[in-house]
Amino acid sequence: MPRSVRDIAIALFLLAIGLVTIFASLGRPAGGPLSRFAYTVARPFQEAVFAVQSSAKGFWQSYVALIHVQEQNRRLKEELRQLRQERSVLLNKAGENRRLKKLLNLKSTDEFPSLVAQVIGDDAVGWYRTFLVNRGSDDGVLTNMSVTVAEGLVGRVVKSSGSMSQVLLITDPDLSVDCRVARTRDRGVLTGSLDKGCTLRYIKLKSRIRAGDEVITSGLDGIFPRGLTVGTVKSVHRGGQGLFLEAVVIPAVDFSEVEEVLVVLGVRGGFDIGSELERER
């Protein structure tokens, strides 16, 4: 066979495989044998590098912190005293809140079973806003599970295999979240934006939304639990050919600082988290 024909045949064959793979992977949860193999091999290295990086960061921060440590110590003691007082008040309120919710047959998002995972890597190329966590399908993590931290919503699991999973951040344009404005209760769809954090779209024109409003998940998209903090409205403008309002939303989470996350072990949003889990509770 002439060399040029062979080269073209190889190129066409791989092109066909690539196209078939792309179309086969679209709309289907990712995490085949290739992912399982790659994640299993990569995880120990990533954890080792993460440990070294954390140590280096910790050492540097400790050193810098020593400069003002005495003043900081005094201030922290004062804060601790205040926080203890506030904590006892909040504990009472949490108990009261739980009892009231039980009465109303509502389920608090805090009651979702969740799993702590460590961030052990970034997106391989950088064109997508994702990171890797050290929990996978072996730990019960599945695609479409939501990922949070104390500050608010981080994103959702898009690939899960073996001992690692990939999390798509809310700042990525590929992720859409059904949200509400906490103050006005108006609904909108939040998507990531390339330069402005996130954009809340399809808000009705009559809405009284304004800068500074808190945006929370509505739970109506069937993926994210409701009531999770998403971010704060920075500005509002008309969009969608003037039919809707759009708001620029600054995420509540600083993604560059996230080291541990909570994976919510339920793939259905809103009130439902699965009958098995419900029975367990």
Binding site: L15, T21, S25, S35, I120, G121
Partner: protein, 166 residues
């Protein structure tokens, strides 16, 4: 076979660096695409069948560790490999400036394809920020290639090839 193994190893190291240390040194969005540098290097140094298969597999592994649909970077990198090889055959780009220019164009093509793919799925603003992102990332990767190419040549000195020969 040696070249396939070499390509696999350097691609694995490149992916490993990109998902761990690189994000610590530079903002994740602007970190250089080391795998693409390996792809351009392969297009100048490795025979077509070996390079094509190696690059395709490297792309598949990049997809595993990226938010892209599986097969996306396998296709993009294969395309860049083919273009790189044939451009080199036509105009001899195997000088530092030529290689950097090829990397620059490669990142530009990969970034544009990634954004185009997302635009087809959902609303993405194609404004100045998208252009600036692609241009900056291309420049950073092209600059990084000036340092990475000599290292790859040093690691595998036997891989010199005249384009069109096996």
């Amino acid at each position: 076979m040696t070249n396939v193994a070499f390509l696999m190893i350097v691609s694995a190291v490149a992916i490993g660096l990109q998902i761990t240390t690189m994000g610590f040194l530079i903002s994740p969005a602007y970190k250089p695409d080391l795998v693409l540098i390996v792809v351009v290097w392969a297009s100048l140094r490795v025979s077509f069948p070996v390079g094509m298969i190696g690059v395709f597999i490297a792309g598949l592994f990049t997809d595993v560790f990226s938010g892209s649909p599986t097969g996306f970077f396998a296709l993009i990198y294969s395309f860049i490999f083919v273009v790189g090889a044939y451009v080199h055959a036509a105009v001899r780009i195997d000088v530092p400036e030529g290689r950097a220019a090829m990397v620059l164009v490669g990142v530009w093509a990969a970034g544009s394809a990634a954004l185009l793919m997302r635009w087809m799925i959902g609303p993405v603003e194609f404004g100045w920020s998208a252009v600036a992102w692609i241009v900056l990332k291309s420049l950073i990767t092209a600059l990084a290639s000036l340092a990475v190419f000599p290292v790859l040549d040093w690691l595998n000195p036997a891989s010199a090839r005249i384009m069109g020969e096996d």
